[in-house]
Symmetry: C2
Subunit: 378 residues, 2 copies
């Protein structure tokens, strides 16, 4: 981190953990008997609790969305571009809540947590969690924080699916729903990429059917491959071209299978770094939650029908070069909202960063996002 | 195979092998002391040897491009759609040669062959082969067959790169060059996908640094993953949607990591089938040949300059939904040919099959391909 905290940062933040004793019934019909949720808050809750914003994280995200945990932390939270005083999610106006989802590996109850029935880590016995389950658990956190209605629920990618599910499942509990670089369900191609990532993890001999904690190891190669694959699909061909082109790491071809091109070196680095900060069982769970999400499936495939009870006003944003969650997928949500006579603003942002654009400081994105947020009454 | 051979099939074919005793100097500066090339031919060579066509295969292809090896063979060769009497590559007019490239695993010398220096399989010691090396070895096969000049050299994908290299490296030895669903060099994204596939293979614990033959095993999981990934990138999002959609294999969600969606089952099947017919070291070599190909690199990145001595007339074809070798990449070749004042016809074919389109029976493709081939004088 910089020597001084920048004036538009939320500054030093300290996560809090709430323990929930009431069992949570899950979509899979299994039950979590009790669980922890770790979260951070930025800004101040106003007197009538009308300025609260919920941030939902994506596949590999967590509760640490903005600011720094200490002066030693090198990088701020994952959405620091968008959260802070004067930023699109303006913490001088809003009270922002960001949590780690159930099944995560950053402090909320998940596969690395102790299973009370066995006194060993849950591992592969952790129940499958769906987007609906996350939203239900987030609603309980809202109760604890005294938030009857969010000014907005906001998320990108898998986080956008959670925001959408909030609007469907708790229509009275949010006024605005902001869905960024997301989709109403995964395509077969998306599922295929997830499946390859899962196979990479599950076929790693140190995976031990998910019981690797007990063997004091991690399925490093599998998780690395999963992350490398994810990473390529989050970038656009153009952004990779401008980032790496076909540059050789050592200036000339070596005719071997070690790193030759810069892009290979970058990918291996990304894969290795991920292994040190993420749990393989959590990765599996998160990809399945992505696969399963499909609110239209309970309405004969009609998304407009799934949205019929929605009350929130929507902002939907997509990015031109995002091929994992292309603008067409966002437009399916927009069309269904219009068909269902809901209020929706839609912006397709020109950006060559691929799916990762939603995390990037892009002036047009920042401007649109800020303008919408400023219009939210509190 | 059908009970009777269809009239537009080349029928039963028998591969032949030629042993080359003259050493082949490779781009890597290493030398293959001697080697075999396995090939098939379809049709008859005419008296003045002017009707010969060379087929160059792609990543996982081989010499068996058309017809059947026996009445028991279930499927014909990989390009049977395009090769046969009355088909675009009309064997009633042309004499067609199709070979397995060096480094392959179907009969030409490759990693599974015995290294004369050690009397063990080459394995990882097989020298790296480039597109230029393949073309040089193909030119020697042409010499053996008495073919001074090909009527056309034809290839799709990596095969298209070989066709392009023929036009550059042996300008007097081909009259037509047909480059389908190809590119003048891989993009960073393409290289990234190849790198993930290689990492999957090389990190498989049964890979043994490429010496798996000696351990009487194969890196099954790694090769499976590589193939699954390749497969997803050869299909388009649309074609996967129409093939599988989000269909569940057992009609309802099971909340687990076994196969849930049809697309997962398909991918696992494809991956497993590939392991039984392909060698992992060959896969590594072929992907590196793809990565390295970049004829413009010796001309300050100017493809038009690399093409300045070309004499062949070109037909370039691309497919709208091919995102691994997109139409824009074919158009780079077309533009460079035009800039270099060469003769080129270009057709972008509407098809939703992705990169695999070049192997598919698509009426417009068939029509354009046939029309061009019929104009070739013999």
């Amino acid at each position: 981190m910089p020597d001084t905290i920048p004036p538009d940062s939320v500054g030093i933040v300290t996560p809090q953990t709430h323990h929930f004793n009431e069992p949570l019934k899950l979509t899979s019909q299994r039950t979590l008997p009790h669980y922890d949720i770790i979260y951070e808050t930025y800004g101040e809750l106003n007197a009538d609790h009308s300025n609260a914003i919920l941030i939902c994280h994506a596949l590999s995200g967590d509760h640490h969305a903005a600011g720094y945990h200490s002066m030693d932390e090198k990088k701020p939270g994952w959405w620091d571009n968008c959260i802070g005083p004067g930023k699109p999610i303006d913490t001088s106006r809003f009270f922002v809540v960001s949590l780690n989802n159930l099944g995560g590996c950053k402090g909320s109850t998940g596969p690395v947590s102790i299973n009370p029935e066995t006194n060993k880590p849950y591992g592969p016995d952790f129940p499958m969690i769906t987007v609906e389950d996350w939203v239900n658990s987030q609603a309980r956190l809202a109760d604890v924080l005294g938030i009857k209605q969010w000014a907005a629920v906001i998320g990108g990618s898998l986080g956008g699916m959670q925001a959408l599910q909030w609007a469907i499942g708790y229509p009275d509990r949010l006024r605005h729903c902001i869905v960024i670089a997301s989709a109403p369900k995964l395509s077969a191609q998306n599922i295929a990429f997830n499946e390859i990532a899962r196979q990479a993890i599950m076929s790693d001999p140190t995976f031990y059917d998910g019981h690797y904690y007990e063997h004091d190891t991690v399925p490093k190669q599998g998780l690395m491959l999963a992350r490398m694959l994810g990473h390529v699909t989050y970038l656009s061909d153009d952004s990779m071209k401008s980032k790496f082109g076909r540059e050789l790491r050592e200036g000339e071809i070596k005719f071997g299978f070690d790193v030759e091109f810069q892009v290979e070196s970058y990918l291996r680095y990304q894969g290795e770094a991920f292994v040190n900060r993420f749990d393989a069982n959590t990765y599996l769970l998160m990809t399945r939650a992505l696969d399963y999400f499909d609110p239209a499936s309970q309405h004969n495939g009609k998304l407009a029908d799934a949205l019929s009870l929605v009350k929130a006003k929507f902002l939907v944003m997509s990015f031109t070069s995002d091929w994992r969650f292309s603008p067409e997928r966002s437009e399916e949500i927009v069309k269904a909202l219009i068909d269902s006579r809901k209020s929706v603003s839609y912006v397709k942002i020109k950006a060559n960063h691929g799916h990762d654009a939603f995390l990037m400081p892009i002036p047009h994105y920042d401007k649109v996002f800020s303008a919408y947020m400023q219009r939210i009454e509190i």
